[in-house]
Each structure stands twice: as structure tokens, then as C-alpha cells.
């Protein structure tokens, strides 16, 4: 049997748990929006020149212009993004881990191996040391 059919059996659209998911998104969405609006609505705005200037622990700031940020910071951010996206795929898999049998487990293992190879490559290339 073609494996897509196989997947269909698992993710049959049963409306019960979908409703809960929808509810969760609704509540948190509503809460977030209300808080932001309340903040905008209630916070009295009274600006003065000092408030616009950056907060430098109370003393006058030393540098007028902000220089371009060195490349190292971008590297760290990129590596985080990379591994973070990969981890996201583990969550749904962990949810249905029991039901989907061993073939899916092998597929996931292969996926994991690829990540680890990438991780080792990054480590050896010295992406994790700040200063080579």
C-alpha cells in the first residue's frame, strides 16, 4: 500500500481534538491582542527629549552612530535558527510516536543522523568558538 494511504489512517480528520487546538489558538490570540490594546489604551504617553535617547545606565551615551555589527553575531544567530527549525519537527513526531509503528521511527532516526552530522561539521569548523 502506498504510504500516503498509510498516513491518511492516522491523521483522519476527527473533529474533537481539532476543536481543542482551535480553542487554544483563540484564547491565546485574544489574550495577546487584548493586552496589547490595553497597554496602548491605558499607558499615558508623555515624551521628553531624554526619554527618546537610549538608556545607557544613566550616563550620556558615548557614541552618536551605531557601527555595523560584526559578522560573528550573525553566525551565532544563523546556527541557532538552523537547529531550532530542525527541533521543531520532533514535536509532532513525539506526539504520535506510539501509534505510527517502527517504520516512521527509522525515518526519524535518519533525520536525526543528518542533524548530528551537520552539528559535528559546524563544531569542527569552529562555528561555536567565539574567537578562533
Amino acid at each position: 500500500m502506498h504510504c500516503s494511504v498509510y498516513f491518511y489512517k492516522i491523521y483522519a480528520f476527527n473533529s474533537r481534538n481539532m476543536i481543542e487546538l482551535l480553542l487554544v489558538f483563540l484564547i491565546f490570540g485574544f489574550l495577546g491582542v487584548v493586552l496589547v490594546i490595553m497597554n496602548k489604551l491605558l499607558g499615558p504617553k508623555r515624551s521628553n527629549p531624554t526619554k527618546e535617547s537610549p538608556f545607557e545606565c544613566g550616563s550620556p551615551y558615548l557614541q552618536e552612530e551605531i557601527n555595523p555589527v560584526p559578522i560573528k553575531f550573525y553566525l551565532v544567530a544563523f546556527i541557532f535558527l538552523l537547529f531550532d527549525i530542525e527541533v521543531v519537527f520532533f514535536f509532532p513526531w513525539a506526539l504520535v510516536f506510539k501509534k505510527i509503528g517502527s517504520t516512521a521511527f527509522i525515518v526519524m532516526l535518519a533525520y536525526l543522523v543528518i542533524i548530528i552530522i551537520g552539528f559535528i561539521y559546524a563544531w569542527k569548523k569552529g562555528a561555536f568558538q567565539w574567537e578562533r
Binding site: E56, C57, G58, S59, L62, I66, N67, F73, W130, E131
Partner: protein, 443 residues
């Protein structure tokens, strides 16, 4: 306002100031840092944000009135400042202090040293992220402050150690208070050893960071735990023994590499030594001449004055609670016999004229404590190092010039060299391990 660092900074490096109002800078230091993406190229430390004109105020106050000011110098271990100031004047006046008062002074200043180290390491650990250590240590400090409060009346600004002795006798159940505080502190020390000593994060942030060699430390005039962390054996209590420190045996812990972790470890070991000193002093302290009991019964001061006017036999006087411990018969143990240099006990002041005259002359303008002309330098082992008082007196009751040798002034002056080349995040544990106290640094 172009500072030195702005002139010398390279075009593309980032200038940042960890200004006075920064949690890790204890609110009174401004470190201006030139960064090349997290690495510090150049830094400038600006102090003086807590300069309160202590030395100028000293020239306008009498010797006795200056005691509260000395509490607020190194406000983490106030009793040691009192001790240093008072012993300098005693060295000038040449008076000696009764045995029991010396032991009380040793116990109190060791308690103050423990609270100094507890606060310093609490702040250092919290700034490195270990908030539980901060809570544990401040809790342990509460127990110690309870003992200090019951004897001196104040948690922190005690001005308890007076010229010629101490202000009041210990309260009756001081031994089990002290034992409870010692047990609690030992428990917290054990916890913190477990939490921090092998903690990977703490080790990475403090091991081999801001290493100071013994030679540079001496050249910077370092004394105290920071000098001992570089392996140099110098402790004022051993080098120039004062009070009864020569009778008490205690070791002086030394570090090897002089980095942040050694400064932390030396302070931890020093706390254990201070606990040992307190325990030995508790045994060796001579017994008071009259048994310690709380509120003495007796006449009210007003009736005593009427009775003494009518030459009736003068009984004991019931003093108000905050004068507890300074009754007449206990006075011999806690204050020097010389009449001129101490406040007479209240029984004398209320009942006989000689006590009244002494009291009046002690506090009157130009009549109080007048040390002979000349200058003196005396130092005690403070929480951060050698706390020295240099007093020039011109015979009047006000010091002509009083200079404080602040130990953490020399520690912080080495700061610029210590953080050179490290990461921005290393400033925090380095600064925490130096235990900079604003009141003592800027005076």
C-alpha cells in the same frame, strides 16, 4: 563631554558604558568600555559617584561624633571600621582596654567580617546567575545580623565599639544566639560549596579570568583576600597582631593563581576561619564581674536624683531598655578605667557630682577627647584588606586631618588592567570578586 576613552577609541569599535546605575556596578562605578564585538580593547573606570566628603566632614566633628561616620565607610562590615578608628585613637591616647571588652571586639568584628564576605559573594554569585546562592547567603547574613542587633542595638550602623571599650555588655543568652548563627552559617557555607565549587558555568566564568600575579598585586598595593588569592601571605591580624588575635589560632587561606575563582575560594575559607575564631573567643572570654541579668530592678532615675540630693543611701537605678548592659557594676569589664576618655556610667551621672562633671566635660565643646599633638597611622584587617586610619591631631578635640587607607581603592585601581582583553561578560565576575564598596572607595 569627551572622555579619555572617546578620544582614543578606534573608528569601528563600539563604545559602551556600564554606567553608575548598573546592578552589577553596585550603583557607584562607571566602566566605559571600547568593544570589538564582545572583546574589550580598552576600558576606563570612573569613580567618585559616592564621594560624600567624609574626610572634609572629619575636620568639623569631634572624635566622639565621628563614630557614626565610620560605620558608613565600609558599610558591609561596619564594626571593623569602628574598631580601626577607635584603636587608632587609643594608640594616640595610650589607654588599654579591659580583657573582656577585647574579646567582645574580636567576636563582633569577626561576625562583621563574615557578613562582609557573605554579602560580597552573594552579589558575585547573583551577578553570575546563581540567584539561589544570593538568597541563601542573605538568609545566613540575617542570622548574623540578629546577633549583632541584640548586642549593639542596630543591624548595620552599630557604632558599638567606643573609645576605651564597647558600648554595652553582651545580653544574657548571647551564647546560644551565637551558636545558632554559627550552625546556620556553616549549613549555608556547606550548601554554597556544593552549589558553586564544581559548577561548570561558575567555573567557566571565573576560572583563569582576570588573573593577577603576586608581583602586580603588590605593585597595585593590594591587601586582604585579593592579595592572599595570589599566594602572598599578608594578614594584618598576623603581621601586626592587635587585640587578642595572638592568643587565638587561625590559619590564613591562600590561593594559587589569583583569578576570580581563587578570590571566591579564599573568601569562603576565610569565613570558616572566622567561625573558628568566634568559637575559640567564646570559650576564652573572661567571665563578667557581675552575673548577666536583664532589667536590673531599682529606682527610677528621677527618684534617684531626689534621693541622692537628700543624701539617702543610693540604691541601683533601673535604666531604660536601650541603655541595658551599661550598668555601673558591669562597666568595669567593658570600658577603660580612665575617666577622661569614656562616658561615665549612668548611675554616677545621676547620683554623684563627680560623675556629672565627667559626663559634662566629655560632651562639652573643646573638652571631650583631646589626643596629644602629632600624627598616627594604625590599621586593622578589614573585609577587603588593610583598613588604615591616618590621623593628624593638633591637640584640640577635632582631628586636624583624617585620612582613610581604603583597601578597595587599590583593588579597583587595578580593574582597568585586569579586564583588558577579556569578554564584556567577564567584567561582572571580576568586579564582583573585588568587592568594591562605594562608601570606602570614594570616602
Amino acid at each position: 563631554m569627551s572622555t579619555k576613552i572617546q578620544k582614543e577609541a578606534r573608528r569601528e569599535s563600539m563604545l559602551l558604558n556600564m554606567g553608575p546605575s548598573h546592578p552589577a556596578m553596585h550603583g557607584t562605578i562607571r566602566v566605559m568600555v571600547e568593544l570589538d564585538s564582545e572583546r574589550i580593547l580598552n576600558s576606563e573606570v570612573e569613580v567618585g559617584y559616592l564621594h560624600r566628603g567624609f574626610e572634609k566632614t572629619c575636620e568639623h566633628r569631634t572624635y566622639f561624633n565621628l563614630l557614626p561616620y565610620t560605620d558608613r565607610l565600609n558599610y558591609v562590615s561596619p564594626l571593623i571600621n569602628n574598631l580601626g578608628y577607635v584603636m587608632t585613637i587609643e594608640k594616640m591616647l595610650g589607654i588599654d582596654v579591659p580583657e573582656r571588652a577585647q574579646y567582645i571586639r574580636v567576636i563582633m568584628s569577626e561576625l562583621s567580617r563574615i557578613s562582609d564576605h557573605l554579602t560580597c559573594l552573594a552579589a558575585m554569585a547573583m551577578e553570575c546567575g546563581a540567584f539561589t546562592v544570593f538568597l541563601y547567603k542573605i538568609k545566613a547574613r540575617e542570622f548574623i545580623w540578629d546577633v549583632i542587633e541584640r548586642t549593639t542595638g542596630a543591624r548595620m550602623t552599630t557604632s558599638y565599639i567606643r573609645i576605651g571599650g564597647v558600648r554595652a555588655e553582651l545580653h544574657p543568652d548571647w551564647r546560644d544566639d551565637l551558636k545558632k548563627a554559627i550552625v546556620e552559617t556553616r549549613k549555608v557555607l556547606k550548601d554554597v560549596h556544593g552549589l558553586l565549587d564544581k559548577n561548570k558555568i561558575f567555573l567557566n566564568r571565573t576560572r583563569d579570568i582576570a588573573v593577577v600575579s603576586a608581583q602586580t598585586a603588590i605593585n597595585y598595593g593590594w591587601t586582604g583576600p585579593c592579595l592572599r588569592s595570589t599566594g602572598v601571605y599578608y594578614d594584618v591580624r598576623k603581621a601586626h597582631p592587635y587585640l587578642v588575635y595572638d592568643k587565638i589560632d587561625f590559619e590564613v587561606p591562600l590561593g594559587e593563581r589569583g583569578d576570580n575563582f581563587d578570590r571566591y575560594m579564599v573568601r569562603m575559607k576565610e569565613m570558616e576561619q572566622s567561625l573558628r575564631i568566634i568559637e575559640q573567643a567564646m570559650e576564652m572570654i573572661p567571665e563578667p564581674s557581675s552575673p548577666l541579668q536583664l532589667m536590673a530592678e531599682g529606682m527610677k532615675p528621677a527618684e534617684a536624683i531626689k534621693a541622692s540630693r537628700a543624701q539617702k543611701v543610693e540604691e541601683r537605678i533601673m535604666l531604660s531598655p536601650n541603655l541595658e548592659g551599661s550598668e555601673k557594676e558591669r562597666y568595669k569589664d567593658i570600658s577603660t578605667a580612665e575617666k577622661k576618655y569614656t562616658v561615665p556610667p549612668k548611675e554616677d551621672t545621676y547620683t554623684n557630682i563627680e560623675g556629672l562633671i565627667n559626663h559634662f566635660k566629655f560632651f562639652m565643646e573643646k573638652h571631650g577627647i583631646r589626643p596629644p599633638k602629632g600624627e598616627v597611622y594604625f590599621s586593622v584587617e578589614g573585609g577587603n584588606g588593610e583598613l588604615g586610619f591616618y590621623i593628624v591631631s593638633d591637640g584640640t578635640d577635632r582631628p586636624y586631618r583624617l585620612h582613610l587607607r581604603a583597601p578597595c581603592f587599590h583593588l579597583v585601581s587595578a580593574m582597568e588592567e585586569m579586564i583588558q582583553g577579556h569578554y564584556l561578560a567577564d567584567i561582572i565576575p571580576t568586579f564582583g570578586s573585588l568587592n568594591m564598596i562605594g562608601g570606602e572607595l570614594d570616602r
